[in-house]
């Protein structure tokens, strides 16, 4: 087990290194310099700016400097946000993204699991059909559409909730709902299909034959096995929620990381793009690492398989 975790950790580190290097060199390919679009600046100031960002050094030296800074947790300075450091921007904005993201994870898991279980227990009845419809709609409606509809109906028309901002506790409702729609639909579908499979398995029949009550069978035998595929979905779910949060934060005017990410792209603020890409990369890879480890704990069979990879 320790070896398995260690291996996964190492591979996460390798991936992060590749991502960091890829971002660095991709940003170096872009022709021109980051200050090209601004008003003509005197040569002297430009030199000073170049020296400040280390752009006057040869590329390999910049690369080493960049890696060294990364190891110390320094993501550099933003080039457009009034010379704030990237670390500072992340520190200030992450709290909002983290809050809605975390709530969205909880809501998706709860809603998805409950819907999936209800559907499986009522196989081929109307509750099952309703769940399938919700699940298919969830993966078919783009999240910016879901967010806009929510904002229009609950915010503008009915005026139950504030259209934007994140000041009241009720302000969390719409962004979190919009974010959880897709993952919840996916989890519901996943849970339903594995529950159906598990419920017809022999050990469930055995449990029933032993005279165990329905609830014990459900919780101790069925659910435990049905939850396995959901665990593997933690990684992709994090990715979904992060890309979703970029959209949702923009629509509901929340000053989270996603909003800065969009801004950095429209402003071509390279250091900020690099920094936020890496930050997102770290979260996503950490989520994948957690998934791998959790899977190793939940599924005892994983110990027998050698190495990672698919198929």
């Amino acid at each position: 087990m320790v070896k398995y975790i260690l291996k996964k950790f190492l591979s996460m580190f390798v991936s992060l290194f590749v991502l960091a290097s890829a971002t660095f060199f991709l940003m170096k390919i872009i022709p021109g310099d980051p200050f090209l679009k601004e008003k003509a600046i005197p040569e002297k100031i430009k030199e000073h700016l170049f020296a400040m960002y280390g752009l006057d050094q040869p590329v390999w030296k910049q690369y080493l400097m960049y890696l060294n800074n990364l190891l110390h947790g320094d993501l550099g300075m933003s080039m457009k946000q009034q010379y704030m450091s990237v670390g500072r921007i992340i520190k200030d904005s992450f709290i909002y993204s983290a809050q809605i993201g975390l709530f969205a994870v909880i809501v998706s898991l709860a809603a998805g699991l409950i819907l999936g279980i209800i559907a499986a227990l009522n196989h081929r009845k109307w509750l099952d059909s309703v769940t399938i419809i919700i699940a298919v709609l969830g993966v078919s409606i783009p999240n910016f559409l879901a967010a806009s509809i929510l904002q229009y109906v609950l915010g503008s028309k009915l005026q139950w909730l504030n259209v934007s901002g994140l000041n009241d506790p009720t302000d969390f409702i719409m962004p979190v709902l919009a974010l959880s729609f897709l993952p919840a639909a996916f989890i519901a579908r996943l849970t339903r299909s594995t529950m159906l499979e598990v419920l017809s398995a022999d050990y469930i029949k055995t449990a029933r034959a032993k005279g165990l009550s329905g609830r014990i069978i459900l919780v101790r035998h069925a659910l435990r096995n049905a939850i396995l595929p959901v665990v593997t979905y933690i990684g992709p779910m994090t990715a979904n929620i992060i890309t979703g949060s970029v959209v949702v934060e923009q629509i509901f005017g929340i000053g989270g990381i996603g909003k800065y990410f969009v801004q950095s792209i429209t402003n071509r603020d390279y250091t900020l793009i690099m920094g936020l890409t890496l930050f997102y990369g770290i979260i996503l890879m950490a989520a994948r690492f957690v998934t791998d480890v959790a899977y190793g704990f939940v599924d005892p069979r994983i110990k027998l398989t050698r190495g990672g990879g698919k198929g």
Binding site: T23, L26, V139, I141, F144, L145, S148, A239, I265
Partner: protein, 307 residues
């Protein structure tokens, strides 16, 4: 040992006596026919297919039937609601939304289609190589795929488009750079599973070369899961393009995809809801139909995977 030889008169001709052979109860059907029968009995999937064909047809002829060009600005007729002249209304530059919506649908579908085809080409070649050769080659390629796969694809896609400046070509390129890996893994899994089957050994014994075995025997038999993955790649590519449009990295004006249209409309959509509703409806219906049809196809082509 006595030399044994046969002469023709030792043989008697037996007629094609149908009574003595085992009676054929049912007409024999090929795997494809079987799959088609299963698919065509799935009414919702067939309905989705019909709607998809209609959307594709409209994407081709739609921009030409309203008599309004998709990119001509009518600056005096901005943000008009749907009417006899402008069936879906006009946008903030007075462009006809009917033509634009179907043009956008065409571009979105093309992005999805090209991305899926690029995934297919790369995935089948690399997955085929991995699965067929196995051993060292497989191990090295697999390691490479794992590293590439572990990097969050959306981030790489965004970075690539920021660098290459957005266009349909760069979007498809960026999507397929990260997209082929899962296809390669599926092909690899299929090939490994199939290559130990007897008919491959028979082909080898008959002297078929590697390319023939790969393309004539292994790939056609691995087709089922590949087609299903392909069908489900299209909507996820359309989704990805819509997300990129939201970042301002979608197809650039005057061309438009459904994603860019929705993104343009979102800013003022409480005032001009029709600018949002039509492209949003088309994209949602298309995605829905692709997902349902993909599921139906999976059930039909691979009964083992049926849930």
């Amino acid at each position: 040992m006595k030399d044994q030889s046969f002469t023709p008169d030792q043989f008697t001709k037996l007629g094609n006596d149908k009574k003595s052979s085992e009676p054929v109860v049912r007409e024999s059907i090929s795997a494809w026919k079987d799959a088609w029968q299963r698919l065509s009995s799935n009414k919702i999937a067939m309905l989705s297919l019909i709607i998809l064909l209609l959307v594709s047809l409209m994407a081709i002829i739609g921009p030409h039937i309203s008599g309004q060009d998709f990119q001509t600005n009518h600056l005096k007729e901005k943000n008009l609601s749907p009417s006899g002249t402008y069936w879906f209304g006009t946008d903030d530059l007075g462009r006809d939304l009917f033509s634009r919506t179907w043009m956008g649908a065409g571009i979105s579908l093309q992005v999805g289609l090209y991305a899926a085809l690029a995934d297919l080409a790369l995935g089948v070649i690399i997955g085929g190589i991995m699965g067929y050769f196995g051993g060292r080659v497989d191990e090295i390629l697999n390691r490479f795929c794992e590293i590439l796969y572990s990097i969050p694809s959306m981030l790489i896609i965004i970075l690539l488009i920021v660098i290459m400046s957005p266009s349909m070509f760069t979007i498809v390129l960026a999507l397929s750079i990260t997209g082929w890996i899962s296809m390669a893994w599926i092909v690899r899994g299929q090939i490994i599973q199939l290559k130990n089957q007897e008919y491959v050994m028979a082909a080898q014994a008959l002297g078929a070369n590697t390319a023939r075995i790969l393309f004539r025997h292994l790939i056609p038999n691995a087709m089922g899961p590949i087609i299903v993955t392909l069908t489900l790649t299209v909507p996820s590519a359309i989704f990805a393009e819509a997300f990129l449009s939201f970042l301002g990295l979608g197809v650039q004006s005057p061309a438009a995809s459904l994603g860019t249209m929705i993104n343009d409309a979102i800013k003022a959509w409480t005032l001009y809801p029709w600018r949002m509703i039509f492209p949003a409806a088309v994209i949602s219906i298309t995605m829905l139909c692709f997902n349902i049809f993909g599921d139906g196809l999976r059930d039909a082509l691979d009964p083992k995977m049926k849930k």
